[in-house]
Amino acid sequence: MNISNNTKKSILSSISLVLKLAIFICLIGAATSSRLFSVIRYESIIHEFDPWFNYRATRYLVKNGFHKFLNWFDDKTWYPLGRITGGTLYPGLMTTSGAVWYLMNKIMKIQVNIRDVCVLFAPAFSGITAIFTYLFTKNCYNDDQLAGLLSAAFIAIAPGYISRSVAGSYDNEAIAITLLMSTFYLWIKAMRTGSISWACSAAISYFYMVSAWGGYVFITNLIPLHVFILLLMGRYSTKLYSAYSVWYCIGTLASMQIPFVNFQPIRSNDHMSSLGVFGLIQFFMFGDSIKSTISTKNFKIFLKFAVIGLISFGILGLFVLTYFGLIAPWTGRFYSLWDTGYAKDHIPIIASVSEHQPTAWPSFFFDTQFLIWLFPCGVFMLFMELQDEHIFIIAYSVLCSYFAGVMVRLMLTLTPIICVCAAVTLSNVFKYNLRIWSTIKKVKNKSDNRFTELCVLISKLITVLSFLGYLILFVQHCTWVTSNAYSAPSVVLLSGSTDADGSPIFIDDFREAYSWLRYNTDEDAKVAAWWDYGYQIGGFADRTTLVDNNTWNNTHIAIVGKAMSSSEERSYEILKEHDVDYVLIIFGGLLGFNGDDLNKFLWMVRIPEGIWPDEVNEQSFFTADGQFRVDAAASDTMKNCLMYKMSYHDFPGIMGNPTQSTDRVRGATIDESHVLPLKYFEEVFTTENWLVRIYKLKDLDLEGRDLGDVYDMDNTQTKKKSLKKPKLEPRIN
């Protein structure tokens, strides 16, 4: 039976489509399932800190509807200031998960808890990210499907992305990376075709991104940078003009609909590059139309003056508008991107965040394994061809490589482009080396250079097998890293030991304390804790907090820091002024948990020191030889501060020795005589492993006496009562 070529093509195309579908289903399956380690090992739980706010906000949205959500004033945070939550968040994440919940519950009739939607949100979106990465790579690199599929496979399981998208990691990044890739894909599509519909789609995707993550500024700057480079390279075209103009106008107008963004796109320095490029491209369009009407010589003169005038006007305008406050100055986070020491000197609150620290070199390998060395090869290959869309990838690679180097959290934005470039490299490697059949034919033909062909065949086989080996190792590495490093919820800790029946023993102190707060304190009780735990207290315990991870008010955080680092009497005054009922601290001395408050304590000193240098002095917490000690050698200021007293209250004497205990984090011996008694606060709850300790502010004395005096008086009376009378013995002379 003869089958025509067209039929053959049609059959092959159908098979190819089915195979592609199967590959995508497998990719989505791999992306989703590799992120479920945390659910299997632990449970369906929201992780870490920020996700707790997002979860709480989503619950509010689902319960109260979108309108109330946007107008939500939260009086349970930042007491007594409160927070205009609806106007100070990126609602994209919450509205998407709310919509998913609504779709499943109300339309599809699948009864799911909003918590489960939130927990599984990031894994579900990682599959979509893989699809957009495929489309982006394919469009950027000569419609190469192999590169596209490889990049999709890489992003599906790369630890650099998984680190922020495991089940329970319900953060803005969970959706933002998907939107980042979709916006870039649509932008490339718009730029290549000049199609207004693709540009509109890119703008809508950009709007979605703006609604979801503050990192949208990266897109706001990268796309203009791409256009700017193209303009500098003389690659202006009407396609570029229509794509950028449509994207910028619609995208900017749309982004301004997000209450938190508001007028920033036209008033903030972070956004000025896109506005400037928009102006520039208008000028290019104008110049392009003039070029056809005047002579080349005149046009060159016109161009020279116009470019100089335009740049001068732009820079001058920027300075003048910034000076008059019409354009907001650069933010601290922006400066710290260029100067890694800037935050420590000027904004300690930013420097105190661990994810804002510079990236350690091993992290690059840890998060991307062999992709990291394929990455520069890919960039080089793209550089050799240097098409318009290749420039986009190069610009993205260079910018993000730098940013990922200065801030560890930006590894996340670098990972997709590493996957894309590595896929480009590997695609070329495979394309060349997988053509084995033709080489075998040449070897069989017994031609003159048979030996050379044989060597080529062997080298191709070695290369292909080596890279297959690398790919297998990559999968193993990704699985290991995801399973062991990125799947812990941080709220629950594994003790490392197992029960008699082999089940793991968990250290669940955080939830123990939050549970106690939730069920045994007044609903309007105010809890003071370091800002790290604000979101968790709100989410788990549903109690009012003074500060939280939003860190919008440095002074308020400084107040809590000041209370923690001041003497007990002064702390009591500060906390009473803020209606605080309970103080919650984290103490890892018994368990050996090194992320406790004493290890963060110097930030609690530095932040208020920036505001009240006369009252808080970092040096006074060090010993004479400049050491930070907590044992007998600790400075008097240290021993007298609230954090020290609360951490070590009742601690000596619980490990066998009646008067001493060892702090397992700091390796210090804490003697009973070092820990001064608490006079203004009383312990109300300490968890099983002493990880979380909660203290209550004592009520004011009914007779108006100072609580310190009351304590001293009571203590003296008790001592007096327990004094034994000396036996009177007759004196015999």
């Binding site: 592609k20 009739k109 939050y514 106690w516 788990f540 312990e683 709850f685």
Partner: protein, 489 residues
């Protein structure tokens, strides 16, 4: 001389009342029993003479009927088969009128058994000084002599303490000296005997105290959800509890070091603080969970006991539950449906099958008193409820303290048809259900629901619908790909 006249006058008055009221109580045996889990049962045995069957016998209650009486039953001991006598409650006099018209002769032997609410018990101290102050007492106030319209020839009262681990010791109010401690070993510890009690004698109260050695757990709210699935042949139980430990609260605050010391001293025991609770659940259960609003509680253990044909979920709270602290949690498990739903072959046809669902009112936590209990039974799509039986859990007259039953439609997994799943809500409110009492085997403590299922709706409808959806989804993806490829060409 004058006092003789007065005495004679009183005697005449008593005789007058005795003959005008018709009933005389020759012997009144009063027995108050304090059992485990704060279960207080009063047994009144009355030998009555001069019965006038045209009138009803009035029995004055010593405690408020509406708030403190959980159950009250009147038994006529004279008949061969002891019969239960009807009675009505008179709110104005807080008494019951027992219908004795059906009795034989002019003498009756009545048994009036009253089960009281845990609210009858008051704590002697409202606070504990510290954790080692774990010898706490509860008190019950009872009248020293019964308040009756009738003359009582002889009255004997006995108090029994059956609370385990209490050395069977009951103590009395300090000013009380008319009771004698008879027998420590048998548990009949306190007795008094009084003769010639005149009608409506002065109400003198005596306070009985007994030791508390274990947590006093009250479920302020309990919700039991039962989901049936014929398709997967499983039944899921999900129970939500808000439990409060009603022992005295600590005078000072909770200090971990003090608690550790207390435990060291008492071989790991936690005294009046709740550190573990056992939930006895049906045998062959699986997929257990134990959680609260914050997530899973990781300390659960499940034990299978083949001897008692039950499973036990050992539940440790996140922290020791001290006096007046709350313990909020959810537990859940699955069983095979056939353990609870029985096929009724006699009334079934090929198209529709009938089943009888038989589930206990409660499983779950032991040694708990339930103040409010809601049971929600969710039957799958395509089920028609034929009849419902719910135990009253008391013999009180009228609708007083009877369970409320509601039926509504429930949107279950993939319910798309008009005929949604059914939800049967059974509410026991202000009932003070004693978990230990209700778990007595063969007692009237089960809910029965007879229902009919439509085979197609229950077994095939959802599966076919879902399969079609998945197929449509994949095929549409394929067609989208085809269109995309043809557009690219």
């Amino acid at each position: 001389m004058f006092s003789n006249y007065v005495g004679f006058a009183i005697f005449l008055f008593a005789l007058l009342i005795r003959f005008t009221n018709a009933f005389n109580i020759d012997f009144y045996n009063f027995l108050l029993e304090i059992n485990d889990n704060r279960m207080v049962i009063e047994r009144n045995n009355l030998l009555i003479s001069d019965v006038d069957s045209t009138k009803s016998f009035n029995f004055k209650l010593s405690q408020d009927f509406e708030s403190l009486v959980n159950d009250l039953i009147v038994i006529d001991n004279d008949k061969d088969e002891k019969s239960i006598l009807p009675y009505s409650y008179d709110k104005d006099t807080n008494s019951i009128d027992i219908d004795v018209s059906d009795t034989n002769g002019n003498e009756i032997d009545l048994n009036i058994i009253i089960q009281y609410s845990h609210k009858l018990i008051n704590l002697k101290n409202s606070v504990m000084k510290d954790l080692s102050d774990d010898k706490q007492f509860a008190t019950i106030s009872v009248p020293k002599v019964p308040q009756s319209e009738y003359y009582i020839h002889k009255f004997e009262s006995t108090f029994i303490n059956n609370v385990s681990g209490n050395n069977r010791v009951l103590e009395f109010g300090e000013d009380e000296d008319s009771y004698t401690q008879n027998d420590n070993q048998t548990g009949y510890t306190l007795k008094s005997s009084i003769e010639h009690i005149q009608p409506l004698d002065t109400a003198e109260v005596v306070n009985v105290s007994f030791k508390i050695t274990t947590p006093m757990l009250t479920a302020k709210k309990a919700i039991r959800n039962v989901h049936l699935s014929h398709w997967s042949n499983t039944i899921q139980f999900d129970e939500h509890y808000v439990i409060e430990n009603e022992v005295p609260q600590l005078e000072n605050t909770f200090k971990r070091k003090e608690y550790m010391k207390y435990q060291n001293k008492n071989y790991g025991q936690s005294g009046l603080a709740l550190s573990q609770i056992d939930a006895i659940i049906p045998a062959d259960s699986f997929d257990h969970y134990y959680k609260d609003d914050l997530g899973m509680i990781t300390t659960m253990k499940t034990l299978h006991n083949s001897r008692t044909k039950s499973d036990t979920m050992v539940l440790k709270p996140r922290y020791p539950i001290l006096g007046k602290w709350k313990f909020v949690f959810n537990i859940g498990w699955f069983n095979k449906l056939e353990q609870f739903s029985h096929y009724l072959a006699g009334t079934s046809t090929e198209d529709s099958k009938e089943y009888l669902l038989e589930i206990p009112v409660i499983d779950g936590a032991s040694n708990v008193i339930y103040e409010n209990l809601d049971i929600n039974i969710i039957l799958p799509e395509g089920v028609v409820v034929k009849s419902i039986y719910t135990p009253d859990l008391n013999d009180l007259p009228g609708d007083f303290k009877k369970p409320q039953i509601e039926m509504s439609k429930y949107e279950n997994l993939f319910d798309y048809s008009e005929e949604k799943s059914s939800e049967i809500k059974i509410s026991y409110s202000e009932m003070n259900i004693n978990s230990n009492l209700i778990k007595i085997p063969n007692s009237d403590n089960k809910i029965f629901i007879r229902y009919e299922i439509n085979n197609y709706a229950v077994y095939y409808q959802k599966v076919i619908r879902l399969s079609m959806w998945i197929f449509a989804g994949i095929i549409s993806l394929y067609f989208l790909g085809m269109i995309n490829e043809s557009l690219q060409k």
